[in-house]
């Protein structure tokens, strides 16, 4: 049923639990697993130029620090097909777009992330994805 699962990771406790759930699902359902980390960026032109210069270095740094261990962990749990990427931009938008472009049929994410807006029971990214993703969304507490 869920052949391609995407887990959105941002370093939060919620995301760590979401990762555990996604790996468990992927092994039980024999699904492919995509792990993405979204790096948000302010939309100033200065910053965009900056990224143009050192973009690749930043990307590979984040990938090495965060994604590579996650990929390894997923594989050690028995997930055969593991992939993913570092995404730049507005998290909800980037995750939804990546999911659509890669034929993901289930997005798994923490109910909340690193955001500092207290009082939100459902983080803005989770809320947006639950409404707008092209596929099923699983929010993990």
């Amino acid at each position: 049923m869920f052949k391609k699962i995407l887990v959105a990771y941002d370093g939060s406790d919620h995301a760590a639990r979401a990762f555990e759930v996604a790996v468990d699902l992927a092994t039980k359902l024999s699904s492919q697993l995509e792990i993405v980390q979204v790096e948000p960026h302010p939309t100033t032109s200065n910053w965009v130029t900056e990224i143009g210069r050192s973009g690749n270095d930043e990307l590979s740094k984040v990938a090495a620090q965060v994604l590579t261990p996650l990929w390894a962990k997923a594989r050690s749990h028995g997930v055969k097909d593991v992939s993913g990427d570092v995404l730049y931009g507005e998290p909800a938008h980037e995750i939804a777009r990546y999911a659509k472009d890669n034929d993901v049929d289930l997005v798994v994410m923490g109910r909340r992330g690193r955001g500092r807006i207290e009082g939100l029971v459902l983080g803005s990214v989770s809320s947006h994805l639950t409404s707008h993703a092209n596929c099923a969304v699983l929010t993990v507490k």
Binding site: M1, F2, D24, L122, T130, V137, T139, K141
Partner: protein, 147 residues
């Protein structure tokens, strides 16, 4: 990981797709599945009237709401069992949809709630039904919304 799955079912197309996901997960995880329908007061009289018509009952007032709703859930439960879900339970609740679902899931120690992104509500333009949104935000456990 998932031992007790609660499916919020309202007969809509979204709910049917949610059922597919819930049944699949229940079989793969060996979980118990509770199929729950919340009947709001608005829909209660419609459901009773429909049941009365179908069963040629003279006096609809005497029909227990629970019975006619259970009639619509029984085939769904049978389908779940046929797919290999080891334990299937149906429950009809009355009241505010989100509140009843949240309380039920909590008291039953559910570790996953499955529901359609939208339901039977006629409020057009909502991409995420109000009930689904509330449940996704306040549940004590993981929530799967199915498109």
């Amino acid at each position: 990981m998932f031992k007790k799955i609660v499916l919020a079912y309202d007969g809509s197309e979204h709910a049917k797709r949610a059922f597919d996901a819930a049944a699949e997960l229940a079989t793969k995880f060996g979980a118990a599945l509770d199929i729950v329908q919340v009947v709001t007061h608005q829909h209660a009289s419609e459901a009773v009237a429909a049941f009365a018509r179908a069963e040629h009952v003279e006096n609809p007032d005497q029909i227990e709401l629970a019975k006619c709703s259970a009639n619509s859930l029984a085939p769904v439960a049978a389908k779940a069992k046929a797919r290999g879900v080891r334990s299937v339970n149906i429950e009809v609740l009355r009241g505010d949809a989100a509140r009843e679902m949240l309380d039920y899931a909590r008291s039953e120690h559910a570790d996953l709630i499955v529901l359609g992104r939208r339901g039977l509500s006629r409020v057009g333009g909502l991409v995420l039904g109000s009930v689904s949104a509330k449940i996704a935000g306040e549940a004590n456990c993981a929530v799967l919304t199915v498109k």
